[in-house]
């Protein structure tokens, strides 16, 4: 009895340890590999990797001025990362956050200047419009996916340039503000999200982002929908068999996901730029994919992953100014992380279902 119990106990103890550390292990490994490969690339470009990384860290994290820029750049990534994570968890590939964010931003930008309201109404109106704008844009891949089984990846990726061209048409042609810049007119003061940093455009939008993460956490763990979405992601056939309305849930996931991506646009327009600028995004929607992967689709994880990438992006601007290294170094690092995580992702999945072939 006791001779059998001891190894069992030991096994359980090591299982507990593994359960505690495994979620953090693979992201850590991925980050280390990315840093190593990045160092080689920096050396290829003829720079000192240690110096480059030191600047990257300093530029992203050291001192409130740098930190506030990092937080400013974190905010949109929380939204887009959350949007992508929500859809990935449900087994749907919404990688069109970029386009959804643009449409959300456009909606907020138009209502921000075209409507006059007191601030307590104006800001919610613009934020809601941004959510709907993003959701609307996500409805296209969603409907095609659910009713016609068209691969949503390709449609999502196609919707991104379409959004860019459409918003470009509106902001550079149809509703262009007078002046040399391709932008809409400035939004009214009543629509501006208050800024609280002298050194950056860090604004109240970050609280909306954190609240959104909280709401999604609650949805995932404590609501019927969240439960259904998880099952949908793990085995859609089983979900359907078990009486979960797969089509309607898939639509809902896409719309909510697109809406959250749209909120990123609201934050950018209402908090950072105070107007819709053509082509304002450096690719927050795509970085959101990397954020979601690093966070393993956890909404709380998204906050930390977004901060890591926000700080990297902030550091990369300093990097580009101080050295000859392009800020795109950071994009390379981010997607190396995604690539490595993708590999481990499936490893653990495989290990769980080694077939005892009979």
């Amino acid at each position: 009895m006791s001779t059998e119990a001891l190894p069992a106990l030991r096994r359980r103890a090591s299982a507990v340890m593994a359960a505690l550390f495994r979620p953090l292990l693979s992201p850590a490994v991925a980050v280390v590999i990315a840093i190593a490969v990045g160092a080689i690339l920096v050396a290829v470009v003829g720079q000192n990797p240690i110096y480059v990384y030191a600047i990257l860290v300093e530029g992203g994290l050291v001192g409130w001025p740098n930190l506030s820029v990092a937080l400013q750049l974190t905010t949109p990534l929380i939204f887009t990362g959350l949007a992508v994570a929500l859809s990935f968890r449900a087994g749907l590939w919404n990688i069109g956050a970029e386009g959804q964010m643009l449409m959300g931003a456009l909606a907020a930008g138009i209502l921000g200047y075209a409507v006059s309201l007191p601030a307590p109404l104006h800001i919610p109106l613009c934020v809601t419009a941004a959510f709907l704008g993003g959701a609307l844009w996500a409805a296209v891949p969603a409907l095609l996916r659910v009713y016609l089984s068209v691969n949503e990846l390709v449609v999502c990726l196609m919707m991104n340039p379409i959004a860019l061209l459409l918003t470009g048409y509106v902001s550079a042609r149809a509703l262009k503000a007078p002046g040399p810049t391709n932008k809409l007119p400035d939004i009214h003061d009543t629509a501006i999200l208050p800024n609280f940093s002298l050194f950056s455009q860090l604004n109240a939008g970050i609280f909306i982002a954190l609240v959104a993460c909280g709401v999604v956490t609650f949805m995932n763990s404590a609501t019927v929908r969240g439960f259904e979405w998880k099952i949908l992601g793990l085995n859609p056939r089983f979900a359907y068999y078990g009486g979960i309305d797969v089509g309607r849930n898939a639509l809902a996931v896409f719309l909510v996901s697109g809406g959250i991506a749209g909120l990123a646009g609201a934050e950018q327009v209402l908090g950072v730029y105070k107007a819709y600028y053509d082509n304002f995004s450096p690719g927050y929607g795509f970085d959101g994919i990397a954020v979601a992967m690093l966070a393993k689709n956890s909404p709380i994880g998204v906050i930390f992953a977004a901060f890591l990438f926000g700080a990297m992006n902030a550091g990369s601007v300093v990097l580009q100014m101080m050295t000859g290294v392009s800020k795109y170094l950071v994009q390379v690092l981010q997607f190396i992380i995604v690539l490595v995580l993708a590999a481990q992702f499936s490893f653990s999945w495989l290990a769980r279902r080694t077939p005892p072939d009979r």
Partner: protein, 305 residues
């Protein structure tokens, strides 16, 4: 319509046809390769960088192809050996390629967004002896560069290998019934790896054509989703090389129209640039409708990936 339009349609379709040929080989082997754009962009960059350094077009094209093949091998290793999801890995490789080329553009060529140089030689237009003198079809068909003709000549070559050879049979069986292939002792990994490398080769030609033939410059993300458009063509043609090329040519014609229409109509360029994307999207809708029709006949559950 007029021969100028036809001429530019043939020219504009060239990179689409290369990319589509690359994509359809993996498609036939059962891999949906969404990293075609990534392969193309590294090739476009490497081609122009090598051509700039050596002043040789041949070396430029070879350099472009090699770089795309290397990237394809990376994706293949992650997907086939490390079991990474092809979609995630494909997206990662694509954005990695965008970032890497932008990084190297600044780091190696010292440019911020666009690079061009008059040190880079250009492809001479080829006059095709008999065809050039034909009425109507002569002018659009003659006077293209070598890489354009190569793209169209590769279509029957790919079809030949796919449908006539042992390799092609194995590729198609791997794509349709992997277990049948492995039970017959076929090395599935090798077959998939080979199609992926060939995907790299064809996208390499596409990328090299983009930066050395189509225009003579490199710009960030200059592939403009051509890989996705090529994928739509492949879906629509169910991977048949001839039909895929025909659909790609159709997309190219739509693009050629969008390039020329501003002069004619005075419409905003942004709206006209939408044409190829919207046409592609409509094609995907058509694919979906077709698929749904065949499926609803036997009414099996419809939420399949």
């Amino acid at each position: 319509m007029d021969s100028d339009l036809a001429y530019s349609a043939i020219r504009i379709s060239t990179p689409l046809i290369y990319a589509a040929l690359g994509g359809l080989l993996t498609y036939q082997a059962g891999i949906l390769n969404i990293a075609l754009d990534g392969f193309m962009i590294v090739a476009a960059f490497a081609a122009i960088a090598v051509a700039y350094a050596t002043e040789s077009l041949t070396l430029g094209v070879i350099g472009g192809c090699i770089s795309a093949i290397v990237l394809a091998a990376l994706l293949a290793v992650f997907n086939l050996r490390l079991r990474a999801n092809i979609f995630i890995a494909g997206i990662a490789v694509t954005f990695l390629a965008y970032g890497l080329t932008a990084l190297l553009l600044k780091g190696v060529l010292g440019q911020e967004g666009v690079f061009s140089s008059d040190r880079i030689p250009t492809f001479p237009p080829l006059r095709i002896p008999v065809i050039a003198d034909l009425p109507i079809v002569g002018p659009p068909l003659s006077g293209h560069t070598l890489l354009v003709y190569l793209a169209y000549l590769l279509v029957p070559v790919v079809a030949f290998f796919l449908y006539r050879t042992r390799w092609g049979l194995r590729v198609r069986v791997v794509g349709e019934a992997e277990d049948a292939a492995s039970a017959a002792g076929i090395n599935i990994f090798a077959i998939k790896f080979e199609t992926m490398l060939l995907s790299g080769l064809f996208c390499g030609l596409a990328g090299a054509y983009l930066s050395l033939g189509y225009v003579s410059l490199f710009a960030k993300q200059m592939t403009n989703e051509r890989g996705l458009i090529a994928l739509a063509a492949i879906f629509f043609a169910k991977g048949n090389p001839y039909w895929t090329a025909a659909v790609a040519l159709l997309f190219g014609t739509a693009t050629a129209l969008s390039v020329r229409l501003p002069e004619v109509t005075g419409l905003a360029p942004q709206l006209l640039e939408l044409i190829p994307y919207v046409v592609t999207l409509l094609t995907l809708v058509a694919v979906g409708v077709r698929k749904t029709r065949t499926r609803s006949r036997h009414g099996a559950w419809r939420f399949e990936l």
